[in-house]
């Protein structure tokens, strides 16, 4: 797109899409911003009035907020750690030549196509149920007291479910990156005396850095707003053990009908997401330039 004319044409062609997307974003955002400064409860319709920063004050003063913030960060961090490490290992495994490679790859990717509510229900009832779940069965085979996953380690259980859903995504992206590694580079490293482990740390891992960055960024965006898995399994409990920011906002708007307070929470969540995004882009940005 070199000439001035093509640039103008390109902008003209793109403008409807850009405008639509802008409206799609700006209208809800500004409405949320507006509501967050209002005393607005659905149980008292017609009694809205401007309260300034009161909603924010109440939101931050709520003890659940800090719990929810911590839970959100632990959830994102935990899932990222499992999917990035697990995804790299899976990709290394799937990169090995083997019989039925195509089918195996397809199967590995399939969890990504299961919708979150379904996978949460499957995990809750078939795997983690303390009475008839697979894990409790295995525990009993070994004569160990089965774990009641959702009451003893609720947040970890959620992390496992979500990680299971996102592992295929990470594997897929990392596998493609792995396959783009120049074969001669591996051979050169082999001749230079690098065994499998140095080969991984000195050659493969640096080559994967960019793909890992992309996976991390994309996943973080989606993981900050995990909702279905929590809603279906624990309902944010026990107590606030699995309440993340998204779920807290849901409780306030649709269970307590306090739209003003929930909107303030929404704005806080937006700001948090932006902080995390800037932070991430900072540490990984130089990987993307290269």
């Amino acid at each position: 797109m070199a000439t001035r004319q093509t640039q103008v044409a390109a902008r003209l062609m793109m403008s409807p899409a850009v405008l639509l997307l802008l409206a799609w974003m700006i209208v809800p955002l500004s409405m949320t911003l507006w509501f967050s400064f209002q005393r607005y409860n659905l149980l008292m319709p017609g009694m809205e009035y401007f309260t300034g920063l009161d909603n924010y004050r109440y939101f931050f003063a709520n003890p659940s907020f800090w719990a929810a913030l911590t839970n959100t960060l632990v959830l994102v961090g935990g899932v990222l750690a499992i999917t990035l490490i697990g995804g790299t290992l899976m990709a290394l495994l799937l990169d090995q030549p083997m019989f039925g490679q195509g089918i195996v790859r397809l199967l590995v990717i399939s969890p990504f196509f299961v919708m979150p509510t379904v996978s949460a229900l499957v995990w809750q009832n078939m795997m983690m149920n303390p009475v008839y779940g697979l894990f409790s069965y295995i525990a009993r085979v070994f004569g160990v007291q089965p774990i009641d996953w959702f009451s003893q380690v609720p947040l970890f259980s959620i992390i496992m479910i979500v990680a299971w859903q996102w592992l295929p995504f990470a594997t897929l992206i990392l596998l493609t990156a792995l396959q783009s590694l120049d074969e001669e580079q591996r051979e050169a490293a082999g001749m230079d005396g690098a065994g499998p482990i140095p080969l991984f740390f000195y050659i493969i891992l640096p080559h994967l850095a960019r793909a890992l960055t992309v996976v991390m960024l994309i996943q973080t965006i989606f993981l900050l707003s995990i909702f279905a898995e929590i809603f279906v399994t624990t309902g944010g409990g026990p107590g606030t053990a699995t309440t993340n920011l998204t779920f807290l906002i849901y409780i306030q708007s649709l269970l307590q009908f306090d739209v003003g307070l929930a909107s303030a929470g929404g704005i806080v969540a937006v700001i948090l997401a932006n902080i995390v995004a800037i932070f991430l882009l900072r540490i990984v940005g130089k990987n993307l330039d290269a």
């Binding site: 120049d182 001669e184 580079q185 051979e187 050169a188 490293a189 082999g190 001749m191 230079d192 005396g193 690098a194 065994g195 140095p198 000195y202 050659i203 640096p206 080559h207 850095a209 290269a290």
Partner: protein, 331 residues
């Protein structure tokens, strides 16, 4: 130090035999070039020596020791790849030092070796750059640097100059030759370019379809090609082959005359018309259509005032006519 012996080496991929049976001896300190058209198995042969491919059958010895089943890293050979295969995220220093780092060499030895290699290869000013900030020739030198620091028994080069432009290729050719004179280490070099082979090699292996056609010094190959293939492959422009009645008069199935072995005379043996004349200044290449023989390439030194359509009379130098039998073997 670094002699390489191949005994009845065979390599097949699946059902396809790439190298049927090759036996070959590379002496210590020798510069041997494998040359041949693409697909002749020369790179495969090099990779077999390096250990990057498994032998199907036969034995490879380095300094007399059987290394047929030894891992590449333990054969004490260094290889320079066609794509250079530099590690893109490491600096030049990191790239050159990598083999030593894998050996867990002490820091002082590593620094000394890297600085030595950099000095030899004129890379001292670039040690802290990344490979992508270097030109093609510099990258090539880094790859060679990485090969040098291990002090290998032999260097293996896999078409190292094919990604460089013509002028740089001539330069690097010289540099590699000088390096060989300096290090006196065995080098095995693969190329499809017979000029590279002729200029650099102590001895040349001409390969065709996985077989050795001839193994000898460049001048031997030029003066006494064993068969039609070698005769046609070595020398530029290509040797002229003449069959039929004209060959019969010399008692051969085919005769070969190199373009430079003609004299242009007033009443020569053959007369023809000049098709294309290429004036290079130092030489003039004439493509002459000779009646009853076909097109003949003639190389004459200096500037000659011939042009398209002119009639010319040629005399082959009798003592330099190569004669081949019906099987294509030299007589």
């Amino acid at each position: 130090m670094g002699s390489i012996t191949l005994e009845h080496v065979n390599k097949s991929f699946g059902g396809v035999t790439v190298i049927p049976d090759i036996s070959l001896e590379v002496n210590d300190g020798e510069f041997v070039v494998f040359v041949g058209p693409s697909g002749c198995g020369k790179s495969t042969l090099l990779r077999l020596i390096a250990g990057l491919e498994d032998l199907s059958d036969g034995t490879i010895r380095i300094d007399g020791a059987d290394v047929s089943k030894t891992l590449p890293a333990q054969r004490k050979l260094s290889m320079v790849f066609q794509s250079y295969a530099l590690y893109p995220h490491m600096s030049v220093r990191g790239n050159i030092a990598f083999p030593l780092k894998m050996e867990k060499a002490p820091k002082e030895r590593m620094d000394a070796a890297v600085n030595d290699a950099a000095r030899v290869l004129n890379l001292t000013d670039y040690l802290d750059r990344k490979p992508r900030q270097l030109s093609g020739g510099q990258r090539q030198r880094v790859a060679i640097g990485r090969a040098i620091v291990r002090q290998p028994k032999a260097f293996l080069f896999d078409e190292p100059l094919s990604n460089l432009d013509a002028a740089l290729r001539v330069n690097m050719r010289l540099e590699i030759s000088e390096l060989h004179k300096k290090l006196k280490t065995t080098m095995v070099y693969v190329t499809h370019d017979q000029v590279e082979a002729m200029t650099m090699a102590d001895r040349i292996v001409v390969l065709n379809a996985g077989r050795i056609e001839q193994y000898g010094t460049p001048i031997e190959l030029y003066q006494k090609p064993a068969n039609l293939f070698v005769a046609g492959f070595i020398g530029s422009p290509k040797m002229n082959f003449i069959e039929g009645k004209e060959a019969d008069t010399f008692g051969a199935a085919t005769i070969g005359i190199r373009p430079e072995h003609f004299t242009i005379s007033d009443a020569g043996r053959w007369t023809g018309t000049v098709g294309v004349a290429e004036h290079l200044g130092s030489d003039t290449f004439l493509y002459v259509d000779v009646d009853g023989i076909g097109q003949v390439t003639v190389r004459a030194s200096g500037e000659l005032p011939f042009a398209h359509g002119q009639t010319i009379s040629l005399d082959p130098i009798e003592s330099r006519i190569y004669r081949f039998d019906a099987q294509g073997q030299a007589m």
